[in-house]
């Protein structure tokens, strides 16, 4: 059994906390502890409460505190719960993303906002099953946004995020483990680099996080139907420049871009990707699959009908390729 995404992330943070004796984690109730086989990680036990500190229900403290300490050279990770992703939004917008620029490069916030994200699960409803908020952060100047789809990328991207001198938003969706095994030792997945998960020539499919599982299934089914899809996982959502090089190269080859997103349709992160391709490549056919512009209903009958499934991806791709 391979390491879970949560274990991989804690392993990354543990390694960095050993390397950087000041690195500090502020969190609320999501204990920084995990077990894998007979191994356990417990950051509070290992590094003490000052460096792994739970708090009152106060996301503005978790993020604002991390910002403040990072300003004086104490790197910090702010871990906030999934239903509160947008509570500290102003702090990331007006402060985290702007300080370096406003001070002409003199000051900065080398911190990581570790944001738990929500799947589109039934029985949760309105405030507890709302995906796609990573694009709220991807739009803010001065922030980097990474979003792993598997434990391997999660560990490598978290280490990159911690070592980065600019504020990084690390988005963790509840995604079952897949992909390569996670080495015990530290390694880096560079911020800014997309990965081509499957090579293909008929159509380009872009998606990340939980959607990568639906897309992987769809790509298989399309293959059986004789359609060769190229599947790209951006992994980084901001800055997007390098990522777009990979996507544009693919779309120039296939002429078709299908995106699949758990976020709501309007302004989901693939919206920006589509607009950039539309500006850069003439004559492309586009389709954007996403959750409707509605809050997530609790009843499974409703939400399962609304979220994007492998079947939706297959249907859309076939339509685009066969016309």
């Amino acid at each position: 059994m391979s390491k879970s995404m949560s274990y991989a992330i804690l392993e990354a943070i543990q390694g960095e906390m050993r390397r950087d004796k000041l690195l500090t984690l502020l969190y609320e109730y999501q204990q920084p502890a995990a077990r894998w086989g007979n191994r356990t990680i417990n950051l509070e036990k290992e590094f003490g409460r000052w460096r792994a500190r739970f708090s009152a229900i106060d996301e503005n403290w978790i993020v604002g505190g991390a910002l403040g300490m990072s300003m004086i050279g104490v790197r910090a990770i702010a871990h906030i719960p999934s239903m509160t992703t947008l509570i500290p939004y102003e702090l990331m917008f007006n402060h985290a993303g702007k300080l370096r620029h406003m001070t002409g490069g003199q000051a900065a916030f080398p911190m990581v906002l570790w944001a738990d994200m929500q799947g589109r699960s039934p029985f949760q409803a309105g405030q507890h099953a709302d995906a796609g908020l990573e694009s709220c952060y991807a739009r803010l100047a001065g922030l980097k946004v990474v979003i792993p789809s598997n434990p391997y990328d999660a560990k490598g991207l978290m280490i990159s995020a911690i070592r980065d001198v600019d504020p990084v938003v690390f988005c963790q969706y509840p995604v079952p483990a897949s992909g390569p095994d996670v080495p015990d030792e530290p390694y880096i997945v560079p911020i800014g680099q997309a990965v081509v998960r499957t090579q293909g020539k008929d159509i380009t499919i872009v998606g990340y996080a939980r959607q990568t599982l639906e897309i992987a299934k769809a790509v298989e089914q399309l293959k059986q139907r004789g359609i060769s899809a190229e599947f790209i996982d951006p992994r980084t959502l901001a800055p997007l420049e390098q990522v777009m090089v990979t996507i544009i190269k693919s779309v120039k080859k296939t002429g078709k871009l299908l995106t699949s997103d758990d976020g709501s349709y309007s302004f989901c992160n693939c919206t920006e990707i589509i607009a950039r391709v539309a500006e850069a490549v003439p004559g492309v056919t586009f389709k954007r699959l996403a959750f409707p512009d509605a809050p997530p209903p609790g009843a499974p009958e409703m939400i399962n009908y609304m979220r994007v499934s492998a079947a939706d991806i297959v249907a859309a791709a076939e339509k685009m390729v066969r016309g």
């Binding site: 609320e28 109730y29 708090s55 106060d58 029985f123 309105g126 405030q127 409707p292 209903p297 009843a299």
Partner: protein, 398 residues
């Protein structure tokens, strides 16, 4: 467990109330109670001078027999209805989730007994008790928790968002602290209307931090709004203990910094809660402004869901963040048998009458479960409606 079991247990639990004095005519008895600390405020903070003046037992004394019996019935409703949810969920195949309120019933009932039907409450993620105490329909609530098309919210919201505008229930809310802010906003609206209603915002010990409470409290104080904030201090925020994250022991003290009177009461004593709430409600109606009341209590189950609990057994044991011993101590302070014992001693109820009530409530809960089970599920495409008042949003799939 089923009503029988609960009934028996209630009887069994009576021994807990044994220290209560026997057969004293009612009025004096209540005076006595306040003296020995039942039905009495622990203390008031800051502006509480007038508060102290208001003798504790004034309000309790004026409770009618009917009111007292209703209070007992309401507490039972909450206990048995939620226990039923727990048992159904543990059986498996339950179409929903829940944050159980069991153990804290005296707060919801003590507070809501001091309210008029047209007063408002704003509730939390742990709000089933608040809603039942304000008159919420057991059938529609259970249908909603199981996301049925005929539930309070047509299955859209489930446990976290049950609302009944007709009963002045501004809704449960999954975001901690929001109840305070929307409650204070509603209280402002009452002033604009020139009405004499009041608003109660319920919140846990975790709800006083974050941005909601401070905005509510400052405006309620500055504008003297008819707002009452009930802080249900069950000592935990999931597993986090208040003492580790606050610089004050009594959370009611937070009120003082805003110029609001704060009070601390025994949250397992329905009369003490009622008395403090009634005082605050009367004050608010008279234009006297807000009050914050901290009720010390304990939750019997896990923060969320049913870990550590069993069908037919009360309480969740073996949870890492608290000792079973601590739980047992608090279960011994069970507000329901404590109140029943009091009512029997007060001749407000006989054991027989009390048992009848238990039987009635048990039946009502069984009926609610049957009702919910029989209800239809929502249609898939309904998820696209009710985003705006009119029309449906596009699915965008083809």
């Amino acid at each position: 467990m089923n009503g029988q079991g609960r009934d028996n247990e209630n009887k069994a639990a009576l021994s807990i109330g044994a220290q209560d004095p026997k057969g004293i005519p009612r009025r004096t008895f209540i005076q006595g109670l306040s003296a020995i600390g039942i039905g009495s405020i622990f203390f008031s903070t800051g502006l509480a001078k007038e508060a102290k003046a208001q003798s504790v037992s004034t309000y309790i004394d004026s409770l009618s027999t009917k009111q007292l019996r209703t209070m007992y019935t309401e507490m039972l409703k909450i206990r048995l209805w939620e226990t039923k949810i727990k048992d159904l969920a543990l059986k498996g195949g339950f179409r929903g989730v829940a944050h159980l309120y069991v153990g804290e019933e005296a707060i919801a009932v003590g507070v809501c007994s001091a309210l008029r039907r047209d007063d408002y409450i704003a509730s939390t993620h742990r709000g089933h008790g608040h809603l039942i105490a304000k008159g919420g329909d057991l059938n529609l609530m259970l249908a909603e928790i199981t996301h049925k098309a005929t539930g309070y919210c047509k299955g859209y919201g489930g446990s976290l968002h049950i609302t009944d505008m007709g009963l002045g229930i501004l809704g449960m809310n999954g975001i901690v602290g929001a109840s305070h802010l929307f409650g204070a906003g509603a209280a402002y609206g009452i002033k604009v209307k020139g009405a004499d209603q009041v608003v109660v915002s319920f919140g846990g010990d975790g709800s006083i931090q974050g941005s909601f409470f401070t905005s509510a409290a400052n405006s309620a104080a500055a504008y003297k709004l008819p707002w009452i904030s009930i802080i249900e201090n069950n000592q935990f925020q999931i597993w986090v203990r208040c003492s580790d994250v606050y610089g004050v022991r009594d959370l009611a003290r937070r009120a003082d910094g805003y110029g609001i009177e704060g009070r601390v009461v025994d949250g397992n004593d329905v009369l003490a809660v009622y008395d403090a709430a009634k005082y605050a409600v009367e004050k608010a109606r008279a234009g006297g402004g807000p009050t914050v009341i901290e009720c010390k209590t304990y939750r019997w189950y896990d923060h969320y869901g049913f870990r550590g609990s069993k069908i037919g057994r009360d309480g969740a044991f073996g949870l890492g963040y608290r000792s079973d011993r601590e739980l047992r101590e608090w279960m011994a302070k069970d507000p329901i048998p404590r109140f029943r014992r009091f009512l029997v001693n007060e001749k407000v109820l006989t054991e027989e009458l009390a048992d009848e009530i238990v039987a009635e409530v048990t039946k009502a809960v069984e009926d609610a479960a049957a009702f919910a089970k029989a209800q239809p599920v929502p249609k898939p495409e309904d998820g696209l409606s009710n985003v705006f008042a009119e029309g449906a949003v596009p699915l965008h799939k083809n």
